[in-house]
């Protein structure tokens, strides 16, 4: 048992000392959650907000109430938190004084499971992480494994990856528009965005076979080639894609309430964005044109011409408009992909049981929310030795505890929704 940090006196040290020393070495069962359930621990499975002793200076500073201040749980079950995020907000009247995001309500131990499954199964395991756009998570994993195994991906597979990835980026950004409008009180944009998203997702189901968790990319290519059903649906979607996007976003762009509530709220300047490692649309909204497709080109993106939309205001409205520009860029990319699609195989020839040579690799992809990174270490066996997943929403959400203080409680929803966190990726 490693010793605790010196300055924090934790309740657990006393419990650890009292526990008998001779527990079975190889499997500490008392940490198994079901044992905790069985051992009639106190009715609540874990202690809520302190009375447990505060352990770090940040926690002590946060959980000390001034006069006229109160704690409010925008808790794990709340319509506006995108999934199971819990924001403990310290309020004085309507003003937010401080925020402490509590994560872990959707922590499923994906990295540990990936270290105990073989390389094909790992690609399937990373799908539910960023479940709204799961192809990008697969792309990062596959990119890292291809670097590990020095696999040459045929050109047609690269183009199919870019095509399906950009389609999913459009679907993810339309969902983002619906959620942001829903959080600001608009009920109809969510219906429009789900109509658009369902159409794209049905198209990808025709290509890959699944609506959400695709498991479509393989190390060295993709699972299946383009088929007529997919191409016909893609054809008639492309014919009205641009007009449909303008119609959907036109609903919001000039809406006085939406603009007044989003403009000038949650402003993030360049230094804060860089210091917090924020990536993706949120970084480009603060004036830094960092897009992994341009900054560190992978796949066939050097052969495609698209520009990286960048804005300088850095507020919630800029983050929304950036994503709508990215939808137009993605439609341009899909168009180019369809024209330049080469013929040829879709999958490189690989042995059935993959045992990559020992080594380390880092693969990063530009997802709709930012840079998705995978750091894979292999030790020669057919299971990855360490599979580290870096999720952009994890870094984007961290800014919340510095953007929210000072705003009104109603504006917190505008800021959290504009950062577009997806809890599956944050809690891994």
């Amino acid at each position: 048992m490693p010793t605790r940090p010196a300055r924090s006196t934790t309740r657990t040290t006393t419990r650890a000392a009292a526990r008998p020393k001779e527990q079975p070495a190889q499997h500490r069962s008392e940490d198994d959650p079901r044992i905790m359930l069985d051992r009639q621990v106190s009715a609540d499975l874990y202690q809520p907000i302190p009375p447990y002793p505060t352990r770090t200076e940040r926690e002590a500073e946060f959980y000390s109430l001034g006069d006229g201040q109160m704690f409010l749980n925008i808790g794990p079950h709340h319509p506006a938190t995108h999934g199971v995020l819990r924001l403990v907000v310290k309020l004085s009247g309507e003003q937010v004084v401080d925020v402490d995001p509590v994560l872990g309500y959707l922590h499923r131990g994906v990295e540990k499971i990936c270290e105990n499954s073989d390389y094909y199964h790992v690609i399937d395991q990373v799908d539910p992480l960023e479940y709204v756009s799961s192809l990008f998570q697969e792309w990062a994993a596959v990119l890292a494994f291809e670097k590990l195994m020095d696999v040459e991906v045929p050109a047609r597979a690269e183009y199919i990856r870019v095509l399906s990835g950009e389609l999913l980026r459009v679907a993810s950004h339309t969902l983002f528009m619906g959620f942001l409008a829903l959080d600001l009180g608009g009920l109809t944009p969510i219906l429009y965005s789900f109509i658009e998203r369902d159409e794209i997702v049905e198209m990808l189901a025709a290509l890959t076979g699944a609506r959400m968790l695709f498991n479509y990319f393989r190390i060295g290519g993709v699972n299946g080639d383009l088929n007529h059903d997919f191409m016909s649906r893609l054809g008639d979607w492309m014919s009205r894609a641009a007009r449909q996007t303008e119609a959907n976003t036109g609903l919001l762009n000039e809406n006085e309430i939406f603009v007044r509530r989003a403009r000038g709220v949650g402003v993030m300047n360049r230094e804060m964005a860089l210091r917090f490692g924020v990536t993706g649309g949120n970084l480009r909204a603060s004036g830094i044109p960092f897009d992994v497709r341009r900054a560190h080109p992978y796949s066939v993106y050097p052969a495609l011409d698209f520009n990286v939309p960048t804005r300088l205001e850095g507020d919630s409205l800029a983050r929304y408009l950036i994503r709508m520009d990215e939808v137009r860029e993605s439609i341009k990319i899909i168009d180019q992909c369809l024209h330049q699609m080469p013929d040829g195989p879709v999958m490189a020839r690989l042995p059935r049981l993959l045992r990559p040579r020992p080594g380390r690799a880092w693969g990063a992809v530009e997802g709709p929310r930012g840079m998705l990174g995978v750091y894979a270490i292999s030790d020669g066996s057919d299971q990855p030795f360490r599979f580290r997943i870096h999720d952009p929403s994890f870094m984007n959400l961290e800014v919340v505890s510095h953007l929210l203080p000072g705003n009104l409680l109603a504006d917190t929803m505008a800021i959290v929704a504009s950062l577009d966190p997806i809890m599956g990726g944050i809690d891994k």
């Binding site: 490693p2 940090p5 924090s8 309740r11 657990t12 419990r15 650890a16 190889q26 499997h27 500490r28 940490d31 499975l45 874990y46 202690q47 447990y52 770090t56 200076e57 926690e59 994560l103 872990g104 922590h107 131990g109 990295e111 540990k112 105990n116 499954s117 073989d118 670097k147 860089l274 210091r275 917090f276 490692g277 924020v278 960092f290 900054a295 560190h296 040579r357 020992p358 080594g359 380390r360 690799a361 880092w362 840079m371 990174g373 750091y375 270490i377 292999s378 030790d379 020669g380 066996s381 057919d382 030795f385 360490r386 580290r388 870096h390 994890f394 870094m395 961290e398 510095h402 891994k428």
Partner: protein, 185 residues
């Protein structure tokens, strides 16, 4: 493979870098001791010809014999990703200086490394569990914490069985350096 970057790194950080600078595909890897981390990061971030401003990732790694903290950095001066491996942290009491003085975003990444591996980062204002419940006692991503295996033993020869104790092979060197571990019998 950016040879120029290798020369610049040796020029700036020659003293602190342990072992050779490895380069493969589009990644450059340097290894340093935990003690030298703050000023290595400071030089990487501030020196004019390096300017590694974006922290791509901070990961904890348990190699069975020691703990490592791995930084991934990006800079517009080089097409490569830079990987800084802080090695030599003992498995019983892994301590490492914190990177929050340069990137405030590293606070949560370090909280996650502490939660999953037990690596204590000195200088992090808020080092508490981020994913597991506050009164969880063990560190799940360590190599000696085994998954409770409800399903049947996974098929295939030479696959590590869940219930076998993880016996790190006594073979020297880093598992990622071409050291083939004997499959746990």
């Amino acid at each position: 493979m950016d040879r120029a970057l290798k020369r610049r790194l040796e020029a700036r950080l020659g003293a602190q870098i342990r072992g050779p600078i490895r380069q493969r595909h589009d990644q450059t890897e340097i290894r340093i001791q935990p003690g030298g981390l703050p000023d290595v990061l400071r030089t990487l971030h501030d020196s004019v010809d390096l300017r590694f401003e974006i922290l791509a990732d901070l990961a904890g790694v348990d190699t069975g014999r020691e703990m490592q903290v791995v930084y991934h950095l990006w800079s517009e001066t080089t097409p490569d990703w830079l990987r800084v491996i802080v090695e030599g942290l003992s498995r019983e009491d892994p301590r490492c200086p914190s990177g929050t003085f340069l990137w405030a975003g590293a606070e949560w990444l370090e909280r996650e490394a502490y939660d999953m591996f037990g690596i204590v980062f000195e200088g992090n204002r808020d080092l508490r569990r981020i994913f597991m419940p506050p009164d969880y006692t063990s560190f799940p991503l360590r190599k000696d914490f085994l998954l409770p295996d409800d399903s049947a033993r996974s098929p295939g020869e030479g696959v590590r069985h869940m219930e076998r104790p993880f016996a790190p092979a006594v073979v020297a060197g880093d598992p990622a350096d071409g050291v083939r571990r004997a499959p746990a019998s």
